[in-house]
Symmetry: C2
Subunit: 145 residues, 2 copies
């Protein structure tokens, strides 16, 4: 009930493959403790219904997670989150690391002063219900190749 089923109302972007976004979503649920070791997860068909995706796509995501040791499936009993705490712990670092990597790689090519960058991240990360139409009025001109 109030728990807000961890696998509903996920909005997919049209860029990345859906099955990978599903995997990522599960990793996020694990990283934030909403999914825990040994916990049962929905069947492929059920997840397809819940997430409004094709069961085959759900199967592909589960297969991927299976290969990444995130979930385990014995016979035809429902799949569960792995009990390997080592694997579970690593997920958080993996998610954060990937995000930081992508971000830094993306922004390195634009030559942004570190402090300006950190400020931007801080404000955007901190603002919860706020909305700024635009930041950076152009005072960021201290740039040279």
């Amino acid at each position: 009930m109030g728990t807000g089923e961890a696998w509903a109302s996920v909005d997919f972007n049209s860029r990345d493959p859906v099955y990978l976004q599903v995997v990522r979503h599960f990793k996020e649920q694990i990283a934030t403790g909403k999914l825990q070791a040994g916990q049962v997860i929905p069947s492929r068909r059920e997840l397809g219904t819940l997430m409004k995706i094709n069961p085959n796509t759900a199967q592909k995501a589960y297969k991927e997670m299976e290969e990444q040791q995130l979930i385990v499936t014995e016979g035809n009993s429902p799949s569960r989150i792995t009990g390997d705490e080592e694997v579970l712990r690593a997920i958080r670092s993996e998610l954060i690391g990937e995000a930081v990597d992508a971000f830094v790689a993306s922004v390195r090519k634009v030559n942004v002063p570190v402090e300006e960058l950190l400020d931007l991240v801080r404000s955007k990360y901190t603002e919860e219900t706020n909305r700024q139409p635009k930041s950076d009025g152009g005072g960021t001109s201290g740039d040279q190749s």
Copy 2:
């Protein structure tokens, strides 16, 4: 790369459409001042050769840039970077803003303390040729290409 033609040796990822990565590359070149207002850019066929992509993909990228007012083309004379300084100035903010947005959105779901996050960004952004075999105890067996 002393001469360093601004449109060579660009490594594409296999995730995003190539033509969009080309557009992004041009934006980065503009944002860092390597491409300036009015400057002539290679023809579609030439860019195809330089970037080792199909001329049609180059055309698609140019068409996209044309629609975004990044470049202008009169008749069949070579396309040039727009002279609209307003547009040019906006690019830098756009690139940074998008990167920050994506990063924050990506990392918000994992519930990371701000300071930890900023530290990670700072170290990764600062490190030039350094490599840390171990960072957070997570053996991220990287496989997500």
